[in-house]
Amino acid sequence: MAPSDILPDILFYLFAALTLLCGVLVVANPFSRNPVTSAMFLVLTIISMAGLFVLLHAFFLAAVQIIVYAGAVIVLFLFVIMLLDLKEEQRRKIKLFGAGAGLVSVGVIMTISLKALRATQPGANLPAPQIEGGTDALGKLLFTQYVLPFEVVSILLLVAMVGVILLSKKDLK
């Protein structure tokens, strides 16, 4: 195997491990229950996931992921965390029953789906991947075949903006 074949595989394992590790720390950080820590690890999860997108040749989506999620969504989260007074969170205990039930149900779902993945092998007989998710290819598709959903999404963003302004008014009717 040439080094140029091995490098993407090494990078995949690196980014996948980073994504999962930071995902664990978002959900269940043993050192801190502070939502700010969770938000920071969410940023790291999203950035390493953008690395996975680059490995899948989805360059445009990797950029959008970093700009929209790491740039806008997390900043919004941090603003709201600082608006609310969340010092109380650290004092409360996690309920043992809820945690146990969650672990069992998620464990069952994960076992079933991973077993199904192993049994069906969806990627076994596929041809070599060739597509490139660059800006030009995606933009062409977005403005020809998917132009109607694109316009609908712009209206959705307008509606969301108006809704948020209405919801953040002091006297909510």
Binding site: D9, F12, Y13, L20, G23, V26, V27, A28, S38, A39, L42, T45, I46, M49, L52, L56, A58, F60, L61, V64, Q65, V68, Y69, V73, L76, F77, V80, L84, L86, E88, E89, R92, K95, G98, A99, G102, L103, V106, M110, L117, Q121, P122, G123, L126, P129, Q130, I131, G133, L138, L141, L142, P149, V153, L156, L157, A160, M161, V164, L167, S168
Partner: protein, 101 residues
């Protein structure tokens, strides 16, 4: 072994499970919301890898729309959480058990 579709799908499944675990286990509304984002991202990863290995760009277009809608959804959801916090002085699901304010 060469990294293929199964590897990416495994990562996506595990990330989805983590998000689900956060939604079930955590009691803070904001952390639950972040776990929801994690689940959305897991779905995005699955879609992008399917798109790549099936030589079809439509999956990436869908991910583009999911990211847009998720951004709008986060803005509205966080505004709701702030409005709720103003009424109840709490962002804890155990304090928010009744529908009527």
């Amino acid at each position: 072994m060469h990294v293929g579709l199964e590897h990416y799908l495994t990562v996506s499944f595990l990330l989805f499970g983590l998000g689900l675990l956060g939604v079930i286990m955590r009691r803070n509304l904001l952390v639950i919301y972040m776990s929801l984002e994690l689940m959305l991202n897991a779905a995005n990863l699955a879609l992008v890898s399917f798109s790549r290995f099936n030589n079809n760009l439509n999956g990436q277009i869908l991910v583009f729309f999911i990211i847009t809608v998720a951004a709008a959804e986060v803005a509205v959801g966080l505004a709701l959480i702030v409005a709720l916090y103003r009424k109840r002085q709490s962002a804890h699901v155990e304090d928010l058990t009744s529908m009527k304010l």
